[in-house]
Symmetry: none
Subunit: 331 residues, 6 copies
Amino acid sequence: MSAKNKLHSSQFHPILRKINEQNVDISFHNIMYPVFIVEDDNQQQVIPSMPSVYRFGLNKLIDHLTPLVEIGLKSILMFGVIDILPKDEIGTNADSNKNPVIRALPILRQKFPDLLIACDVCLCPYTSHGHCGIIEEDGINNEKSIERIANIALEYVRHGAHIVAPSDMMDNRIFAIKNKLIQNGMEKRCSVLSYSVKFASGFYGPFRDAAKSTPQQGDRKGYQLPPGSRGLAIRAARRDVDEGADMLMVKPGIAYLDIVRDVKNEFPEYPMFIYQVSGEYAMILHGAKAGAFDIKNILSETLISMRRAGVDCIITYFAPTILEWMKDGHL
Amino acid sequence: MSAKNKLHSSQFHPILRKINEQNVDISFHNIMYPVFIVEDDNQQQVIPSMPSVYRFGLNKLIDHLTPLVEIGLKSILMFGVIDILPKDEIGTNADSNKNPVIRALPILRQKFPDLLIACDVCLCPYTSHGHCGIIEEDGINNEKSIERIANIALEYVRHGAHIVAPSDMMDNRIFAIKNKLIQNGMEKRCSVLSYSVKFASGFYGPFRDAAKSTPQQGDRKGYQLPPGSRGLAIRAARRDVDEGADMLMVKPGIAYLDIVRDVKNEFPEYPMFIYQVSGEYAMILHGAKAGAFDIKNILSETLISMRRAGVDCIITYFAPTILEWMKDGHL
Amino acid sequence: MSAKNKLHSSQFHPILRKINEQNVDISFHNIMYPVFIVEDDNQQQVIPSMPSVYRFGLNKLIDHLTPLVEIGLKSILMFGVIDILPKDEIGTNADSNKNPVIRALPILRQKFPDLLIACDVCLCPYTSHGHCGIIEEDGINNEKSIERIANIALEYVRHGAHIVAPSDMMDNRIFAIKNKLIQNGMEKRCSVLSYSVKFASGFYGPFRDAAKSTPQQGDRKGYQLPPGSRGLAIRAARRDVDEGADMLMVKPGIAYLDIVRDVKNEFPEYPMFIYQVSGEYAMILHGAKAGAFDIKNILSETLISMRRAGVDCIITYFAPTILEWMKDGHL
Amino acid sequence: MSAKNKLHSSQFHPILRKINEQNVDISFHNIMYPVFIVEDDNQQQVIPSMPSVYRFGLNKLIDHLTPLVEIGLKSILMFGVIDILPKDEIGTNADSNKNPVIRALPILRQKFPDLLIACDVCLCPYTSHGHCGIIEEDGINNEKSIERIANIALEYVRHGAHIVAPSDMMDNRIFAIKNKLIQNGMEKRCSVLSYSVKFASGFYGPFRDAAKSTPQQGDRKGYQLPPGSRGLAIRAARRDVDEGADMLMVKPGIAYLDIVRDVKNEFPEYPMFIYQVSGEYAMILHGAKAGAFDIKNILSETLISMRRAGVDCIITYFAPTILEWMKDGHL
Amino acid sequence: MSAKNKLHSSQFHPILRKINEQNVDISFHNIMYPVFIVEDDNQQQVIPSMPSVYRFGLNKLIDHLTPLVEIGLKSILMFGVIDILPKDEIGTNADSNKNPVIRALPILRQKFPDLLIACDVCLCPYTSHGHCGIIEEDGINNEKSIERIANIALEYVRHGAHIVAPSDMMDNRIFAIKNKLIQNGMEKRCSVLSYSVKFASGFYGPFRDAAKSTPQQGDRKGYQLPPGSRGLAIRAARRDVDEGADMLMVKPGIAYLDIVRDVKNEFPEYPMFIYQVSGEYAMILHGAKAGAFDIKNILSETLISMRRAGVDCIITYFAPTILEWMKDGHL
Amino acid sequence: MSAKNKLHSSQFHPILRKINEQNVDISFHNIMYPVFIVEDDNQQQVIPSMPSVYRFGLNKLIDHLTPLVEIGLKSILMFGVIDILPKDEIGTNADSNKNPVIRALPILRQKFPDLLIACDVCLCPYTSHGHCGIIEEDGINNEKSIERIANIALEYVRHGAHIVAPSDMMDNRIFAIKNKLIQNGMEKRCSVLSYSVKFASGFYGPFRDAAKSTPQQGDRKGYQLPPGSRGLAIRAARRDVDEGADMLMVKPGIAYLDIVRDVKNEFPEYPMFIYQVSGEYAMILHGAKAGAFDIKNILSETLISMRRAGVDCIITYFAPTILEWMKDGHL
Ligand SMILES: [Zn+2]
Ligand SMILES: [Zn+2]
Ligand SMILES: [Zn+2]
Ligand SMILES: [Zn+2]
Ligand SMILES: [Zn+2]
Ligand SMILES: [Zn+2]
């Protein structure tokens, strides 16, 4: 019963507890806000499965972001969604002139000069089959897929993206993107945030609704990671570090905090992102709505838990709520 | 683009994915079922905040457990709840002859001779103030509290508990319990499962309703751990290992998988339990009910994630459902 | 020339740089303010060698702290200084009723109920010889010294100190203090912050002026650590962890950041304090005054460097200035 | 209170303390002296912000170095400064025949045959814009910059430099320099000392005055490292090791000793340099001048601290003073 | 053939080589001189097997040390040798008033106030059987032996030894000595330098001649370590660290540099001594005498090798020669 | 005084000591015998500085080896020495038809079909200047040197060498040799044993006499490693591992056992050779001759120490003596 094993003395006072909760504060740069952008600049679409989350046209998005940037929003992650533009085998409209992300980038850069803008890079919202790569007879052609993805990334950078974030999980797409950027002399003005450790999860349901990206047939288990595999998770992160990723991501969030810790232990030099995905968003929202707990309590505890596990930046649909709380001095 | 960095080859086939998901299977011994037992042997009480969970009188409990044991239930964790018996300063009825756990133990041992029976050990369900220790003018008296807790544990062991599980988070209670058992020659017939790393969490709301154990005033932040503190978590586990714990627990579950990994890395030689607490139960249930996801999908993924993080045994209110699924050969 | 070795892409944007500067933010709980308190409650004494730092009587101290607490000050470290009360061989006035710290504690606790109050514990400001222990013919008597120090610590806790911080560097004083507190049933309401790794440094000059604690003869090299010794530094921290310290300190600050990293690597579970001592304060102040650099620039960089090295809480005479900057949203 | 935790027995005697201060002695080869050389061979210019530091013409430099070499100076780091020669977009005079470094090299080699001569390699003292690379419309062109830097390095080696020390922080300049030297068959007679871990620090103020290298507009935050980033620091050192650096440097010094330790832990095979920069020089000088401390005390403690953190060679403007002290048998 | 693998660039210049030879310099505090002291104060005895090494009486020893202290000798290790005084079963004269070491200590302390004086502590030079412990019927009685050794150590400390160095290799003698010193309030004025890792070596031959300590029968293989055992070596060092040793030693030297590295890697916090024993002394001397190599060359290389392996202080009979070389500025 | 710290119980019996001396046995395959071969097949030359070592002509060598192979000799390392053949700038006779090694190889392969034959590969015995590379105006031309060395290695392999062992320490010669062997389809029938970590040592004196390879002017410090440099030692081994070495060597032996341990720790998967060089041979021989110790004792202890440090095969001139002892069942 040595004094070393007496813990109450370290935690009886609120400030002592804060001092013992090392490096879990949430500052503005620890939050990234994912937004969906559609073709019609003046539209604002409701997403039934994700209450309070919308798909915005460019003008509506600017209206929506303006007050958030004022109270401290530092970064966004953009997802293009198309309704009117055609989808095809190779996702032509992922980087055409009409792509809503490509059209928005220069304008957002001008409107919000200090905002850090990341763009999700994938084929699935633009392909007719809804897969993240180019499909051939015997499945996805990895080489063609990463060539295509690298070209899309290049277009986003050309139009002003600070970060490109490939979410496709094809092998070697970080290498392909970095190489493409280097060849075009643009690697210095763009970070690559890799969806390095992206699991084939049941928590993505509502998102696919939001992004209109459900595969027509088959699933993504051949390229997204099996949830039980620590080994493939580490290997995936190492792959991306080797290929030049600037930042790493674990996705989904809450059920994978052990993987965050594993990856952070292995690659402490790299900023770690986590994506609190749509299913997590729904689960907390509906749990609170049903009276099981207080949303502020649980959301704060969840964010703190992510930071404790080693996360440097949290991508979350709750960003507006969190910023609101931070404005009031809370959190 | 070295071959080492190509992952699809490791995951294109379902069995390959299983092979890469190491040590995440759920077998019967990986599940422990928490049950609430009340004074009136023939009662079955609904718990409004926890749909499908009940407080049982002894007879009802036997009825409830019988089919579960038949399909594979291997262990339970018992919580006593009192309505009629008086609560007082020192929780006299925690180990009186009338305590429902103490009355039930010999009968359950006889009815289910192969079932492993654990008993939660705490004062809070039996004290008038609802705290987990003995309160004096300037707060909890740690020495008196652990003496009391050790005596309660001894009584449970005398009446047949295979495992005592102190949930109070007083300093040095493992030492006190082990010492008491040794002095009474009973340490060999009882394991101590320590709630070693128990955080002051918002996820406990519904449970307190179930166990009728909400503190009258104040909170438990002076003895339960601050959610952001990795340091105190490790120190708490080390304290219990030093004092003789047989098994360790992290509680709550889902938001603390990184802590499971930390503790497992530090103390790999100890079986690791996790408690999927009432708020988690509610969150999954209500999320599924609202249509955000499929419950089987999400619950399976959650259990697999716990196993992946290093958990050896999951304490969960979903146990009946899970056993049901296992019966059908699923999971 | 692999992409992995291209760094500009990770740092071209201010927010990217923030994301890459992991866990170096300064929040209110990362700052502790050291204050000197004298006997005459209405005095405010100038300290010539430390511009803008004063010795306060209790009333003046309250006046000084009130606005600081309002803008976010969370914790102070108190040093008693005596002019009128006699000094003797055993430092009788370190814990007499007339000691200014002891008189102030209950009043400060009442005036600032949320403020975390730490008290430096040492003999040197109260002994006639100015040493940190009890001197006998052949040097310091370690056993008598730690018995005396433990008694002083106990008195401070009795009068309301949340933290006692022994700065004496006698062997085993943490053990002595913890033991004394446990015997008196007070270990749960007080953290022990050990000046674990305190070097015999030239940077203390101005402080001794402030605290009137210069040894009459000899120096402290027999108990403070030799500046070049990593080995004794680690051994000193390990000693204090073994003996039950709640929190560790490295002192002085800026020239010992490698030792902070060493100790943090070895004992990550313990909050790490650093003391930016008087000589550092003077050096930055005079360098800025001479126009060599901008004080805000250099002070911010210095604080960030401390956090980067692993510090959780910085004890600094610059606290009022820093809080002022934080109020303005800077830092 | 085990004997293991008693430290006084290891430090009561001065020689015992020396034995416990392992590997912190300062020998002549642990000191490198930075010198500024100007066009007019007979000039000696005062630098207002750096008392006792001068810019020398070649003849004056020889006069200045002669007695220092006699008392033990082993190595210098040369910086060219131009006043009369024109500056242009590509820093033509960095390696023209008229460059003061290039003119001086053969003569210094002859005058001081045993002196190890390092040359800082950068564009900023020679470009009209004052940046360390070649500027194009959208910022620095990294490829052109490192090609230019490699050519400059080659010229210095051709004229007799033993070490080239690129301070520019362009990506992959070590690779470019080494490659250039290998192609020209000169890699064996020149070490590359990389300013590997160079932070965007406020401590450089006076130097820019000395070297006349302040950028006309913008700053160097896009290529020098953010002070809070351990991750980029390690990545930068690893990049240079991968590309063939012979020796590594951390710059500035005192506030980055934790980074020295991190880099030394990661790459113990490589000699570690530290640059005690102009702001540090000024801070110690002005602090001492103001009477806050004794300069010999503080400077010795600072040098010892650097050695303790893992430094093998200290680049310092205090070199003449230190050599003077060593001559007297001190230090 | 990457530049990283080209090494000549790091070593073509003498100063570059020095910079790459990290922390191998020899300063005065890196050398300890072993001396043999006999009963007759005015004697100086030749040791045939160790040319240039003598056994001195006190007055002769003072004459011998005086010039060495003047040129930099910082520490000695004293061995008592008796011819006239009787030897017995328990080594009575190891700590009697007539023991030459005990008689010499106060006088040497007075004559050489800055010299650090270590005393070898063992029974073998004083026992009739020549073993390092107390012999009973079935071998050495460990408990009685360490009690005896602790008493001898205490006497040496009482008479002025700064360091006691038990060379006996009994189990737990460090614990016994430390305890004895603590009980007598003397642990703070004496370091314990443990012959922690002392092998049963063939290199000791000439020493036993010098110290007149050859066992009458049997050998020391039951307590000195078997030369091939890394495992017992590490365990022996750990034993001494656990028991409170201040400093560790490996003995003999040259053939055990790998063990030095092992022990230093395991216990970097402890100063590491090495004993260049009599057989090594003889081997170098005779090799040089036979013209196989130059003694200065080989001895320097040997000392550098020891430092490189992790040695902080070398105990060597060559000390006078080495000091002579250092005086001339060599080494 | 825990039992863990009691060591005598592990070493009181001779077999226990053997059991604790792990992996230090000397078997026949742990010994490689270096032999010098001269042009005149019937000569046997005395080497004055190395008693009992000879230079043999082919016939004499066969006579000498025959009984050794019979009693267990498993491998030799051949050095060619020329007296009559001319030496020139490029060492033409290193691989000419007249080279004694090349002439001997097919015959030795036939005579001793089970003997493993290694050939030292270097230029120094065949160049007029005595350096290990090709000299040009400003020193050694590394590229031409390794091209030459690779060609020599190829010739030795063509004539039957099982192992080629380049001792030159040019940068990238392992790469050059491996490449040459691959291009000629011979890499599968030859191991490359790299003199990876070869220091510029004073212990080589007698060898140069034996091999007639002393440089005419200058020394080898620009390519052999500085004795104090652990860093360059590790880098040199890593270089050779990177370039394809099959086996590594540290040379000389006894004073570099810490380096053996370092290299073995870093590259445990590579067989480690050590070369007990001529100066070591002389030192042991002359020490024993002078009566300082028994040669069998000391040599055995030395060989055991090498094995303990991590050596797999010892190259030693004592091979005949050792085999003799092994024949008698000793060692
Ligand atoms: Zn996709
Ligand atoms: Zn409770
Ligand atoms: Zn003090
Ligand atoms: Zn520059
Ligand atoms: Zn002995
Ligand atoms: Zn050679």
